[in-house]
Subunit: 457 residues, 2 copies
């Protein structure tokens, strides 16, 4: 009996190790295909240099949709289609400007600040000047609430440099961009200047969306570059200062946008769906190269590579360029709604929206069992850079799938050190994306999609 | 008895886990110190922007030595000194030039090639023109040996893109730079053009040292940018071509150089030495920012951080800026010789000479037992990025210590994707180093040095 058990065990181990071997050979093949023949980098060049920034509702976004459709067709998509959704249509409306005037003993001194209006913010329309009150965090705001009325609040919350994963610092800092304007407006502030959510060494301001609370004045709000933030803070130690904000943001009526979807039909379980994607929209003040042109071209590249090596998936794989991650999430919501409405069974979704940097691993939101399954593949993924497999994570556009049908979701975790140097800033351009780093992201994603397709989740 | 064993085991586990806890708290403290207060980035700015390229024997290297000495003093070195050694003194001697002339049906067409003479190569002194023979590797060279005489050999060996760790591709490709000229000269070639050892998307040529074999003519040799290499190769498919090389390299008499050494004296085992370092010299055609300004400022930063948090090492820690890694290794050899001569016991050495990119781990050359010890610290290092601990590795300048007294040696392994985009090329400049990536390298190195100091190796 013991011998039989040993034999079964041995057979099982041999079987598993053969399976791992077959998997490792296939993943190597996909990796070689991508590292040698990838179209991701040249696709990104077209998207960023010929189309550029592409906020939902913009003419560039319409061009980007056409580009995405054609890119899927070129990658030999079985089926390609546009999934319509209504998207918000915020426009910057003009050049964002701000300056600070410092009252010194020798007289007044005015300096232009490098600013960018926050996305979704309502412009001052004409120049708005008011004394400035610096606060370091929300506690500090509450302490100073009695002197806020009629003032411009300067949130000077610093990006915490001690977090190794920079998204942690972003998570803390970005609340000042998101809810800072309304929290200041509650105490009578007339405008907001937010320190950019970054630890860069330059002065580029970083935009990103803000959310106004109902029932409070929608006051103008800009992000300021780090050097100017430090300069302003330094001067406020000894002087009074006023800031002038001149912005033009406004909403036009919602308009039509689309998720762009390519599909490879499953051969065994065509009614089980795996989604992989990134978002096609970007902020208007940059080329959206890392955020999230990278995720889009990686998504297209995975399809191209699967087709190039003749891979026929067991399950149906959906490749999605989402319509509106930056300021509304309407694309991601629409995708999950439509899946729910059609009764589609989505077994897994993967997103790349953390930049086209060298992959370090994946973060996953799902059950313990699903997480253990992902962990069991670590030795197959780590040769390509994914040695960090962590709980938590996924992505904004696939979050709705998880909420509506508990689909396990995962996000590619690239190296995060440089991301917030350029996130939502004018230097998020093609030149700051490295070809191989971008490709390795696609390699790791393709490997994971292959494993989920083969073994389920 | 069983109970006693369990008790001992439990006590041991508790002890170990307390020790790990104390270690993890200390490493966090060092990490915070570096991530908040690091001087590494500003030190690198001075070294690269105020001093620049600093080949052994150059006036810039003399300035760099002074800078290094002062930097250790500023970091509060217990003792700082210069360790003299003779270094080779190769000079480029002028501007490297090359062009190719293609014989087409419509006549001749000449194009300037972006080239850089290989380090240690002897210049053509006057323009040297000869027909060109393209070879793809050494096997191809041997096949074509009968048509090489009087020709310029063009080694068009491509950097293999399928290796995830780019140093593997470099290891294979760099032999064409190292021994390509002599192997071509053996068959009567009069000059060599080598495809740059890189997978970059630009056309910058990459230098690096070559070695002439005794008894063979020392023929001029240049590296050519990748785009020009592809252009030349493409044209050679249908046309004959000649190449003109005009270089000026030569050796002056050996001169005096120095390893710059700072030391923190051990409190318990002052006669056991731990070395950490990088090399101060760099090629002359760039700022040597990643190679190896990064390793130097990380080395200095570790000392600064140890002092700043009041760490008193048990063992004596030597911080070394080596004199001559690029074209002679005289500094590393001198250091090991002096250690041997004084009977110093060197228990561990660590080098950073693979760029100032985000750390991914360490590579180590030592006994299995020593490797297991390093592995046992992985959970302490991985929160800071070091999740890849591999056998093999160390560094050129600490290799002699391993050879003379079997000192276990390790090398920091930063992410390698961008290194060969700029290695030995004009774009190895300060602007291409990211502050946080540089600092995280220092964090991981400091953590490892701390662990070796505390527990031995």
């Amino acid at each position: 009996m013991k011998k039989l058990q040993l034999l079964i065990l041995f057979t099982a181990i041999t079987f598993l190790s053969n399976a791992q071997n077959i998997d490792s050979i296939f993943i190597r093949r996909i990796a070689d295909e991508i590292l040698i023949n990838s179209k991701a980098y040249q696709n990104l060049r077209v998207l960023t240099k010929q189309i550029g920034g592409r906020l939902a509702g913009s003419p560039q976004m319409v061009k980007a949709e056409r580009w995405g459709y054609k890119a899927f067709e070129d990658a030999k998509s079985d089926t390609t289609w546009l999934q319509q959704c209504m998207v918000p249509h915020w426009v910057r409306g003009g050049k964002d400007r701000a300056n600070a005037t410092i009252q010194t003993k020798k007289g007044k001194r005015t300096k232009a600040l490098d600013v960018v209006a926050l996305g979704n913010s309502i412009g001052s329309m004409k120049a708005l000047t008011a004394p400035v009150v610096e606060v370091f965090d929300f506690d500090d705001l509450e302490k100073k609430k009695d002197i806020i009325k009629g003032k411009i609040v300067f949130y000077n919350y610093k990006f915490n440099p001690t977090y190794v994963r920079t998204f942690q610092a972003y998570g803390e800092a970005s609340q000042y961009r998101g809810s800072g304007p309304s929290r200041a407006a509650k105490h009578g502030a007339v405008g907001v200047v937010v320190r950019s959510m970054s630890h860069s060494t330059d002065n580029n301001p970083h935009t990103g969306s803000t959310r106004y609370d109902e029932g409070l004045p929608k006051i103008p709000a800009v992000a300021v570059g780090l050097k100017d933030a430090d300069w302003l803070s330094e001067n406020l130690k000894s002087s009074n200062a006023s800031v002038t904000i001149h912005t033009h943001g406004r909403f036009l009526p919602d308009t039509i946008g689309h998720n762009i979807i390519g599909e490879l039909k499953g051969t065994e379980f065509p009614n089980e769906f795996i989604t992989v994607g990134g978002h096609l929209d970007s902020w208007d003040n940059c080329e959206g190269a890392h955020d999230d042109g990278a995720g889009c071209v990686q998504t297209i590249e995975i399809m191209r590579a699967f087709k190039a090596v003749g891979y026929q998936p067991k399950r149906t794989i959906r490749f999605v360029l989402f319509a509106n991650e930056e300021n509304g999430l309407r694309g991601g919501n629409k995708y999950a709604e439509a899946a729910q409405a059609k009764g589609e069974k989505h077994i897994f979704a993967l997103e790349s929206d953390a930049g086209g940097f060298t992959p370090r691993g994946f973060g996953m939101t799902g059950s313990d069992q699903q997480f253990q399954k992902l962990l069991s593949w670590k030795s197959l993924l780590s040769p390509y850079g994914s040695c960090e497999i962590q709980k938590g994570g996924g992505g904004a556009d696939i979050g709705p799938l998880h909420r509506t049908q508990s689909t396990p979701i995962a996000g590619l975790m690239p190296d995060s050190q440089r991301y917030f140097d350029l996130h939502h800033a004018r230097n998020d351009v093609f030149e700051n994306v490295n070809k191989r780093e971008l490709e390795l992201g696609a390699v790791n994603m393709a490997a994971l999609i292959y494993l989920v397709d083969k073994y389920g989740m």
